[in-house]
């Protein structure tokens, strides 16, 4: 199994190296097919490892003190390897068709290919790292590689800004990660994760480490209020990369948080759990509300990632709560929910990003307002996007429903706890999750309905064409995963058994709640029932139809602009939540000579990103202002002052040496 893994990784690296020698078009095929082949091997090996319960550590010493290159395989890292290679596999196959565009644009395709393959490998290295020092190196590698791909099209101002913001936020996060590792190192004496696991820390110390880890990894995961880089970086990256970034890269942060909270610091208090739960709920609500407001297809998906990370955090918080109160079975069950939603989000968000990439490739725009009618031009992409949308809205019979159901069940189970706060708050959290679900439905009705249905709104979507087979195959893999994990949730329970310790009593189709062991859900049953009723009614009630034009109030002109726009679609919610969203409206009216005859009218409405405007921008401005002030005082240009600094430094150094 481990051989298969090594062969897989080597195939990816070898392909990436060999493609440098080939001409552009061929290099592309070689690179992505070898990445696909490699990730398929890694996928198979991690699947087998999970089933067999394989666990091993490989350590290589290095001349640098404290650094030990060690790889570790246990059920958690194998599970995340599984998720990463699943998305990488489909994204790689998709890339064969997608990256051709870069060739046409005369970009440095070989460099891009290299970055892409290395990015995949770096993510695998992150989830298998077993030494803090070494982890930081590969973590940084992953961040920098993804940064390079975000700003690959660096001449574009938007990409440049997104890349800058991303690398800035990531490094801020890395600083906190370093602090949390150093804090653990101070107690353990080494950077080995083994020794971190054996620590028994005081509650206060553990809390500080947990908070540092939360900020550090939360920055990468995109949890509110550290999410601001995500809606910029994910949309501008090429879609095959956004699928990887949004689908799996942000999950590596979840992986490390799981390590921290359940392996290194297993005794976090109930209040920390409530804190994480609240943070997750806020993230889900804010993420989806902003997502609904977007008219850029990929930015909409990026905000929706913030929402899903929020749902994962809700599960995480609940797990900590159950852990702290000693409800072992509930803790295990909820932990399965966390991992389940992680793999689900990876599959449907990956799928949606790939599908939006297909739209972008054939329409050359991701502005929903300019799309429309794509279901006839790109039928397969439309179907795939619809499958992804239904999965992300947690509708049965798809996979998103199963993991959200587990979160709901865990929220409901808190009535068994003795903690009044949790008991009273958890139905409110469930209500927040329900609004999130409702708004997710609204968001994806808008995303799918406005872009794919109706009439084309511009030349872009009128001339759209279906994408090639490679791209379709890549998307189909993820779409099938959405369906398979939805119908066989027992599969995920089987795969996560090693880490969570939860042994389900059900068969593959069924999920039984822990509240009384009697309520259960089964997507297979629902799907069978739906198909039965559908078939019977379709056979009984014949669908012979006359085709005629849409009723347009008797006006005798074809005007696709009469259709609802994306901005108009989300207007009610924008108005209802105007307190938080603070919409800004610009109306530009051009009139003819007569006052009452409008020639042209342009209405634009946008929401204010409150965290950027009221938190980050003031902070950044005050920092630069203070720095400017200090600099102008110190850097006065007077040579006497500079000599004084030198003398001062000399004296300070002498004192320091003396004291030591």
């Amino acid at each position: 199994m481990i051989n298969l893994f090594v062969v897989g990784i080597s195939a990816v690296l070898l392909g990436a190296a060999l493609q440098l020698t080939l001409p552009k078009k061929a290099s592309l095929k070689l690179n992505y097919l070898s990445t696909a082949f490699g990730s398929l091997l890694v996928l198979t090996s991690s699947f087998l490892m999970l089933l067999k319960g394989y666990s091993n550590t490989f350590s290589f010493f290095s001349p640098i003190p404290l650094l030990k290159v060690s790889f570790h395989f246990d059920s958690l890292s194998e599970f995340f390897t599984f998720v990463i290679s699943l998305v990488a596999l489909s994204s790689a196959i998709y890339s064969v068709g997608y990256v051709e565009e870069l060739v046409e644009e005369k970009k440095n395709v070989k460099l891009f290919n290299l970055l892409y393959s290395f990015f995949f490998v770096s993510m695998i290295l992150v989830v298998t790292a077993w030494n803090g020092f070494y982890f930081l190196i590969v973590w940084e590698l992953m961040s920098v590689l993804s940064y390079m791909m975000v700003s690959f099209d660096y001449k574009n101002r938007e990409n440049e800004f997104a890349g800058y913001l991303y690398i800035l936020m990531t490094h801020l996060g890395t600083a906190f990660i370093v602090i949390s590792f150093v804090l653990l190192f101070l107690k353990a004496g080494t950077f080995d994760f083994n020794s971190f696991e054996k620590l028994s820390l005081s509650p206060q110390y553990a809390l500080i480490v947990a908070l540092c880890a939360l900020i550090g990894f939360g920055m990468k995961a995109g949890i509110v209020p550290f999410h601001i880089w995500l809606p910029y970086a994910h949309p501008v990256a090429p879609s095959n990369v956004s699928a990887l970034m949004s689908g799996v890269m942000i999950k590596t942060a979840i992986y490390m948080l799981l390590r921290f909270y359940f392996s290194f610091l297993p005794n976090l208090g109930i209040n920390f759990g409530i804190f994480i739960l609240t943070l997750g709920t806020l993230s889900a609500l804010i993420g989806i509300t902003y997502s609904f407001m977007q008219k850029d297809l990929k930015r909409l998906l990026a905000y929706s990632s913030i929402e899903n990370i929020g749902i994962i955090f809700m599960g995480l918080g609940l797990t900590i709560i159950f852990n702290a109160t000693g409800h072992q079975t509930l803790r295990d069950f909820t932990l399965v929910g966390v991992l389940f939603h992680t793999v689900n989000h990876a599959s449907f968000k990956g799928l949606l990003f790939l599908a939006s990439g297909a739209v972008l490739k054939s329409c050359h725009t991701k502005n929903i307002e300019k799309l429309g009618g794509l279901i006839k031009k790109m039928p397969t992409t439309a179907l795939l996007f619809l499958i992804g949308s239904m999965a992300i809205c947690a509708l049965p019979p798809f996979n998103g429903f199963m993991s959200e159901w587990i979160v709901y069940q865990s929220l409901l189970s808190t009535f068994k706890l003795n903690n009044e706060t949790v008991r009273l708050l958890s139905p409110l959290f469930a209500a927040a999750l329900a609004v999130t679900g409702g708004l997710a439905l609204a968001t994806f009705v808008k995303a799918f309905g406005i872009s794919f249905l109706g009439n084309p709104r511009s030349k872009h979507s009128e001339n759209a064409e279906e994408v090639d087979t490679f791209m379709k195959t890549g998307m189909w893999i993820l779409a099938l995963t959405c369906i398979i994990f939805g119908i066989f949730p027992g599969l995920i329970f089987k795969l996560t058994e090693g880490f969570t310790g939860y042994v389900p009593t059900d068969n593959l189709f069924h999920l039984t709640s822990l509240i009384d062991g009697k309520s259960s859900v089964s997507n297979a049953a629902v799907l069978t029932a739906l198909l039965t009723v559908f078939t019977i009614s379709y056979l009984l009630i014949k669908a012979d139809r006359t085709v005629y034009e849409t009723w347009d109030c008797g006006l005798n002109e074809y005007n696709p602009k009469a259709q609802y726009t994306a901005t108009g679609f989300s207007q009610p919610i924008r108005r209802i939540f105007s307190l938080i969203l603070k919409p800004v409206r610009r109306v530009d009216v051009r009139r003819k000579a007569f006052k009452y005859y409008t020639q042209q009218m342009k209405v634009e409405e946008e929401v204010t990103p409150i965290f950027e405007k009221y938190l980050y921008l003031p902070t950044a401005l005050s920092i630069t202002k203070t720095a400017d002030f200090v600099r102008s005082k110190i850097h006065c240009g007077n040579i006497n002052a500079y000599l004084f600094y030198i003398a001062l430094t000399l004296i300070a150094t002498l004192i320091y040496i003396n004291v030591r």
Binding site: A382, E404, N455, S513, D516, A525, T550, I573
Partner: protein, 303 residues
């Protein structure tokens, strides 16, 4: 035998669905001093529509072709979750209440997509409003459902029915009054009734549900309308089943009595309220939300 009981309960809701609507309409007409159409009128309407070919827009895609069937199927399958006089519904082995609400959302998805599919301005308008109302109604519904679940210690609809029907009087508490009121308000919002939506008009300023299905005709319209009527009947049955449920034949008559009383109550609510301006609907749903939170707090105080 169990399957037979399940099928009977399912058919009962499906067959009763147009009748419930007729009772609401008849109540309104009688209060207004009108004679009103016969109780059988909706059945005649649907029968007539089912025999008509439908006209479909040339812009429409396969979504429009399949959505009516999907909307209908979702409603029928959701109806199989609801116990009428016995907890042995067709879905009693996996009748989770959260699963049930998310299944209903599948119907909403296809209905709203249907609205957008023909490229008409009205459809988009209806879909936009529908998703807004659906999203805002969710929290009230979820807390009310959670309270009922916590009260009975289970999230299975069939189990809740069994537990309630063993001791109907003891099981009924102050807090369930509040949650049922909240559910009734949600039911009004979800089934497009006054004061949230007016099923009797076709005015673009106010319409929600009608705007989405403006392009539907013939069999398509029949299926969508039947689907919505079943959805309304499901909500009413859900509430009815939570009030002093009784199993068995007596339970069946008791159920009919409760359903028609709720229908008459809705008729009274419709006649005594004006339709709210669309941006007042959040206030209405906020009241429902408050009621459900009160019910939750009262439940914890009672324990």
């Amino acid at each position: 035998m169990e399957v037979l009981i399940g099928i009977v309960q399912l058919l009962l809701i499906v067959i009763l669905a147009p009748g419930v609507n007729a009772v609401i309409h008849k109540t309104k007409c009688l209060i207004r001093g009108q004679k009103g159409p016969s109780i059988l009128q909706p059945y005649r309407d649907i029968y007539k529509l089912l025999n008509k070919r439908s006209v479909i827009s040339d812009t429409a895609s396969w979504i429009s072709r399949f959505a009516p069937y999907i909307i209908f199927s979702v409603s029928v399958v959701a109806a199989a979750f609801i116990p009428v006089f016995s907890s042995k519904t067709l879905f009693h082995f996996s009748s989770d209440v959260i699963g049930f609400t998310y299944l209903m959302a599948l119907g909403t998805l296809f209905l709203t997509l249907y609205g957008l599919d023909q490229g008409s301005a009205f459809g988009g308008l209806g879909s936009s409003r529908e998703v807004t109302i659906a999203a805002l109604a969710e929290p009230a519904m979820m807390i009310a459902i959670f309270t009922v679940c916590i009260m009975n210690g289970t999230s299975s609809i069939s189990e809740i029915f069994t537990k309630l029907s063993v001791h109907p009087l003891q099981a009924f508490s102050v807090s369930s009054v509040f949650s049922l009121l909240a559910l009734l308000m949600v039911a009004i919002a979800e089934s497009a009734r006054i004061p949230v939506d007016n099923p009797e008009t076709h005015l673009e300023l106010t319409m929600v549900h009608e705007a989405m299905i403006l392009e539907a005709s013939g069999r398509d319209l029949a299926l969508i309308e039947l689907g919505s009527l079943i959805k309304q009947a499901i909500f009413i049955s859900f509430i009815a089943s939570a009030i002093f449920p009784i199993s068995g034949l007596l339970g069946f008559i008791w159920y009919l009595l409760k359903v028609f009383s709720i229908a008459i109550l809705i008729g009274f609510i419709e006649i005594s309220n004006a339709k709210l301006r669309f941006f007042r609907v959040p206030d209405f749903l906020a009241v429902a939300f408050t009621l459900s939170v009160i019910s939750l707090i009262v439940h914890y105080l009672e324990v």
